[in-house]
Subunit: 259 residues, 3 copies
């Protein structure tokens, strides 16, 4: 068997012991597992951002990878813990929509409600299900235990509103800002590769320039570029488009065909 | 043999090469070792915070784990390097009290003064014993070398003042703020689960509300909750109690029974 | 064969999914690989800082280690991707000078231009060669594929100006500030261990004090110390020399012999 690979995506930050506690629990159950951090700096409780980030990273990982996602404002409430299975990968998460992007478009995805609390760490805390619920389940999945052994299959798992672009009657198309990355590139939900010419409208500004690469762009100017996620990014050459535009996640971006 | 597991807990941050240099040294000595970071964002020189963080994470790890702790304001001075052994785990650290919480209550804990400098990296720097002393010792421990081979057993290793709560003549009980986590939860040293009713006094405020889970709490209000460390935390629902109270580590928290 | 070890050094930060995407690609190609992060917090596009950081960490790692460096302001332009080989280690990077410090002084270093695009991830993005070029090449190097299989050997790879100190006619010697670390130690390019007595001049101040260890220094005073990189650092005891002096990378530091 290939070495088990477990990724972690949380809003825990890296200053506290929370992530390490989860890894310790999983290493105890599956000593062969290798851990890869996707991010622990998801904005606290930002489920949409986490859903998008997971969907970017997961396709890069091999079949058999177990992804544990803990962005969980409802910890301790009645929200369900779930396991998603799609494309040969497994996803362990709270049922709050965080698997929408990674499972939503997959007709063959299966989702299971984790009910078998004999797998949980005891005593079960009310505040840290990452350590007490999600880590033990992920550790056992990594050893080869099947997802169906943790509970029944469900259909009514939570989906977030789609990030797909919305066409307008006038021929323009609306998307949103997903996030800004460390370089200040503003990542949007609008698909790259549409035939032009077109312009972008965002926060009262019109962005007409496009570039083939960051390095090819003129300095000091906002431009759009086909980003690595397959969507349009708004960028500046060696500078931060985010600092210039100061737009938040969810802000409207309109793509308008150019007469 | 199970795969060796080495954790790291430092105040080095993650921007510099220091942590990687330690892992490179350890990987050279023990190629099979897997590394898990507990945290590298302990406040610089904050020994009490590191001691508490280590005590939270270590019990989640399996037997045989080697924990390396480098929060070391005394590097280059006469402070001793030590190895602690307890509960089937090993702890490599400077002798400055950072093992107090993890070893202090363990009657069967053994501590060894590392004197065998033939194991150290040469030339030995005066400023980076993480790389030159602690990493080579931890790497060899991970290969199975016994702790007693590094030096004599000692009894007089440094203990910090206890974090245990102090009862007052009037029936109230005093603890301290340990730290705030990324979510702004204020973690205290007061044990959770005491029979009520009681209130908390901190920074001139009285906190009467309690909640079973973060999600169950009313918005905009400070409340107390049983935290995942087994102690009382002061929290707000989807907001930062730390931003509200602005208390530092060490600040007094008093638990007063309610008439 | 010893377990493959792959390090990563980027300016990607740790909040985004970029680093994980690279690790996913590499784990798919080389399931046995263990990953060690050197840093992902290199200042964006700071090639000199990355070159220096790599040269600090690499010698701590065992032979056979593959280092992937992605600080790449020219991504998508005509800058070449290269593989460097030196001292039994391999370095995968853009050809922008980032390997200067680690290969520059090595007469037996070989450098190869990566031209075999059949190894690249398809479709090849214009903005994320970390995932699409450098990760697949590093993953295959870790499985044992030889560097020469990726393209021809080249001699004209990019070198940055040397960080070696420059002697002046009056007997003084000029270096630069390389960076400040998390503790506020200012790391310079001036070699430690020169026979004294001498003083340092930086930012209009003269620093005469030296110390054998951080702990041995008087409080509140700037002093110089032999740093773990083998060069002179400017430090304060339990305080930040950087906060005091506020000097940037590249600022002149002059060492003047004392009459």
């Amino acid at each position: 068997m290939r070495k088990p690979l477990i990724t972690l995506l949380t809003d825990f930050g890296t200053a506290d012991h929370y992530v390490a506690s989860m890894k310790g629990v999983m290493a105890g159950l599956c000593p062969e597992a290798q851990f890869v951090d996707i991010s622990h700096e998801v904005a606290p409780f930002a489920i949409t951002e986490a859903a998008w980030t997971l969907a970017q990273a997961a396709p890069c990982f091999p079949q058999g990878t177990v992804h544990v996602v803990v962005v969980d404002p409802g910890v301790g409430s009645e929200r369900r813990p779930i396991i998603g299975r799609s494309g040969g990968q497994l996803f362990v998460a709270p049922d709050n929509g965080v698997l929408t992007e990674v499972l939503g478009g997959e007709p063959n995805a299966n989702v299971f409600h984790i009910t078998a609390d004999r797998w949980f760490r005891q005593p079960l805390s009310r505040t840290f299900h990452g350590r007490d619920v999600f880590a033990p389940v992920a550790g056992r999945l990594a050893t080869g235990t099947g997802a169906a052994e943790f509970g029944p299959r469900i259909e009514d798992w939570v989906r977030l509103p789609s990030l797909r672009p919305v066409p307008n009657p006038d021929g323009s198309c609306d998307g949103v800002v997903i996030k800004a990355d460390r370089f200040g590139n503003i990542i949007t939900s609008l698909p790259a590769g549409l035939p032009g010419p077109w312009v972008l409208e965002i926060a009262g500004q019109v962005i007409a320039g496009t570039a083939e690469s960051y390095a090819a762009a003129p300095p000091e100017e906002l431009f759009s570029i086909a980003g690595s996620a397959g969507t349009i990014e708004i960028s500046m050459c060696k500078a931060s488009a985010f600092n210039r535009l100061a737009v938040k996640s969810g802000v409207l971006v309109r793509l308008r065909r150019h007469a």
